[in-house]
């Protein structure tokens, strides 16, 4: 019998993951991380989410603990998020939370407490390969697939991870929760960044921590065509949120220069690039070169590219990927690695 620690956010996915871990005859303990003390719609952090997790654990008859990793979350997720925006980058806080909190601090704590594995409610699968290695693979429910945000996991982490709902569709997860009488069966999915509320938004959150700079919007000829309220909030590829004068064609941010507070806009064609530079690559087993399907955002469509040292060459021209975004390299439906765009 394995001892497993289930990371329970209070949502339906991790509650059902805990239920399935129990059904597999494991010794199961539920843990909720308290990461964020500020405002939150939902996600992983509010007191009501901790209550939901506790109620789910009670319904399943397992022990439930709360770990306060708020300081680590601030240090490794929130502060870097703010700094990245300040530097004109596009950060992904969910990836940093997985990298530093769930699969570092929590996994290490679980090991130090004598647990064999941790279980999460991510929509992704762990697959065992012929050579004995394991990889993260796409979830059965393509629309909910979260393999992208798990690319940073090494072999030793993947082998300590169990993802019981990766073979289920979201509907099946909800049905399972319903059949178990879990109160969270109909709880809405969490959206966006857990430490930013939908009502107040990014601008309000960042504005309290860093000065936001109004910016100029220019076209490819350098002619000013509009303004943005905060240059720190503009991401390459974005279309909305810029006050543009004239022009019938949709125009996208093709470049963001934080020093001069200037956004360049252009047509979709002008957004296309042949190559994308990356840094800090992570590989599931070992470094590999060659052809991959490369995904550039959480739910983006993967595109064929060849991967070399620090450089992706797209088979077909690809819209520019914002600096700070993660690119994830897939072999068929398996994650082989990933990196951060320069």
């Amino acid at each position: 019998m394995a001892r497993v620690m289930v990371a329970m956010s209070g949502g339906v996915d991790s509650s059902v993951a805990a239920a399935l871990a129990c059904e597999s005859n494991n010794e199961v303990v539920g843990v909720t991380l308290r990461l964020w003390g500020g405002e939150s719609d939902s996600g992983c952090c509010s007191v009501s989410d901790v209550d939901d997790a506790r109620r789910a654990a009670n319904a399943l008859g397992i022990e439930h603990h709360v770990f306060n990793l708020g300081d680590d979350f601030e240090k490794h997720v929130v502060s870097p998020y703010v700094e990245a925006h300040s530097a004109g980058l596009t950060p992904n806080p969910c990836i940093e939370c997985n990298r530093h909190i769930k699969f570092d601090r929590l996994l290490n704590r679980a090991k130090s407490l004598g647990f064999d594995k941790i279980v999460t409610g991510h929509h992704a699968r762990v697959v065992k390969r012929k050579d004995g290695t394991s990889r993260i693979a796409r979830a059965k429910d393509e629309a909910k697939d979260q393999s992208y945000v798990l690319y940073m996991l090494h072999q030793d982490q993947i082998s300590s991870l169990h993802l019981p709902i990766g073979d289920m569709t979201k509907d099946q997860v909800r049905e399972k929760a319903n059949s178990l009488g879990l109160r969270v069966a109909t709880k809405p999915d969490s959206q966006d960044v857990c430490f930013i509320t939908r009502e107040k938004g990014r601008a309000d959150f960042l504005g309290k921590r860093i000065p936001l700079t109004p910016g100029r919007v220019i076209d490819e000829n350098g002619v000013e065509v509009g303004q943005v309220e905060a240059i720190e909030l503009v991401t390459v590829g974005q279309r909305r949120g810029m006050l543009l004068a004239g022009g019938k064609e949709p125009r996208y941010a093709t470049n963001v220069n934080i020093e001069t507070a200037t956004v360049t806009v252009g047509t979709p064609d002008q957004l296309l690039v042949k190559k994308t530079e990356f840094r800090d690559p992570i590989w599931s087993e070992k470094k590999i070169k060659g052809e991959f399907l490369v995904q550039t955002s959480a739910h983006g469509k993967p595109k064929q590219a060849s991967v070399e040292d620090g450089l992706l060459t797209w088979e077909e021209p690809h819209p520019r990927v914002a600096s700070g975004q993660s690119v994830v390299f897939y072999e068929a439906d398996q994650v082989a690695g990933g990196a951060i765009v320069v």
Partner: protein, 377 residues
């Protein structure tokens, strides 16, 4: 065997208390505000409890206001005095949140403490000199995390000299079990206490006044408790509180002697058996017998508590927030203890029912758990 070392969080309800309460849960339906015989019975029961609480604090029974517990008593003391008198409230940085929050919310001042967590009298004096409209100063009798005892008499003399109109409130919630509250609070005007910290049930506490203190009520309605706290009294719990108050006085010195010995055994044993381990409170600081506050170097207290719970030893670290997570301790922060050290500290709190065997068992289990975590980390 469960080894309960969290008496500062809550104590087991005493058997005598349960017996005293039972009839008021089962046989007597009366509302103490009513006029018929059954109502008068209930009224008499809470007035008997009032006498016991008054005796414990050395006050007039008419000045005992029953509340739902420590938090309500503290809130009523601060908001009630500010409501009646206006002015500003002052408290020390290591107070319970039930004091800190209303003081902060009303725009009051927080006085730093020294390295033991006791209010710094020089800082207090400077503050009293610099602000004219102080109306209330709140200084806890004993701290809930460390058990450290403030010198209330010295502080009260200072306040009487510098700010003679100020009312002095003391949160005696953690002190009631161990200290002669009547003697130590004789210069205070308002005293908070709660039953579940000394063998009574949860849900009944008291704010005790000295003569001449005016309070404006926080909870308004039927005018119970002499117009100072409305709402039908929680008769069974108040009866339990009264019984616990009666029992605690006679046995305090005997229990204190026994528990002090057990606590010293625990502290000395842990420091001897585990390297890089020390008491959080500096040697020689006056403190209650019940709390062993220990810093384990290179340990995360959440992890240690988890392993101890697996071995059925129950303690806590700092104070728990509403979610059940451990929050960084404002008390240790006020004492100038760095966050890393604070993160490795645990409060083992002993009580009247703690046995030698339990301490011996804890001394077997805790070193192994620390070793497991250090080996990994």
């Amino acid at each position: 065997m469960d080894i309960y070392l969290d008496h500062a969080a809550s104590t087991p309800v005493r058997e005598e208390v349960i017996q005293a309460m039972l009839p008021w849960l089962s046989e007597h339906p009366g509302n103490p505000s009513g006029s018929h015989r059954l109502a008068r019975e209930a009224r008499r029961a809470i007035d008997d409890a009032r006498d016991n609480v008054a005796a414990l604090v050395g006050a007039d029974p008419g000045n005992v206001i029953f509340t739902s517990g420590g938090t309500e008593s503290d809130n009523l003391a601060i908001d009630g005095v500010l409501g009646a008198k206006g002015g500003q409230a002052v408290c020390s940085a290591t107070e319970h949140p039930a004091v800190l929050e209303p003081v902060r919310d009303s725009g009051g001042m927080i006085v730093p403490t020294d390295a033991t967590g006791r209010i710094d009298l020089e800082n207090l004096a400077a503050l009293l000199d610099s602000i004219a409209n102080i109306s209330l100063v709140s200084i806890m009798m004993a701290n809930n995390e460390t058990g450290v005892i403030n010198d209330l008499d010295m502080a009260a003399d200072l306040i009487a000299e510098k700010s003679p109109g100020s009312v002095i409130h003391t949160d005696a919630v953690q002190a009631t079990s161990w200290l002669d509250v009547a003697e130590l609070s004789k210069k205070a005007h308002l005293i908070s206490l709660t039953g579940h910290k000394f063998g009574g049930p949860k849900g009944a506490g008291a704010l005790v006044l000295r003569d001449g203190v005016n309070l404006s009520p926080v909870i308004r309605g039927g005018g119970q408790e002499r117009e100072r706290r409305s709402g039908t009294q929680n008769v069974p719990a108040i009866v339990g509180l009264g019984e616990a108050a009666r029992l605690i006085q006679d046995e305090r010195s005997e229990v204190n002697k026994r528990v002090t010995k057990l606590r010293d055994k625990l502290e000395n044993g842990l420091m001897k058996k585990i390297s890089h381990t020390n008491c959080t409170v500096p040697n020689g600081t006056p403190r209650t017998p019940g709390i062993a506050h220990i810093c384990f170097k290179d340990i995360e207290n959440e992890s240690l508590l988890f392993l101890l719970e697996n071995q059925r030893i129950y303690a806590s670290a700092a104070s728990s927030c509403a979610s059940g997570a451990q929050e960084p301790s404002h008390v240790l922060q006020a004492m100038g203890i760095d966050p890393k050290t604070a993160e490795g500290s645990i409060r083992f709190s002993l009580g009247r029912t703690t046995t030698e065997k339990e301490i011996e068992c804890a001394l077997e289990v805790i070193p192994k758990a620390v070793e497991q975590l250090r080996e990994f980390g």
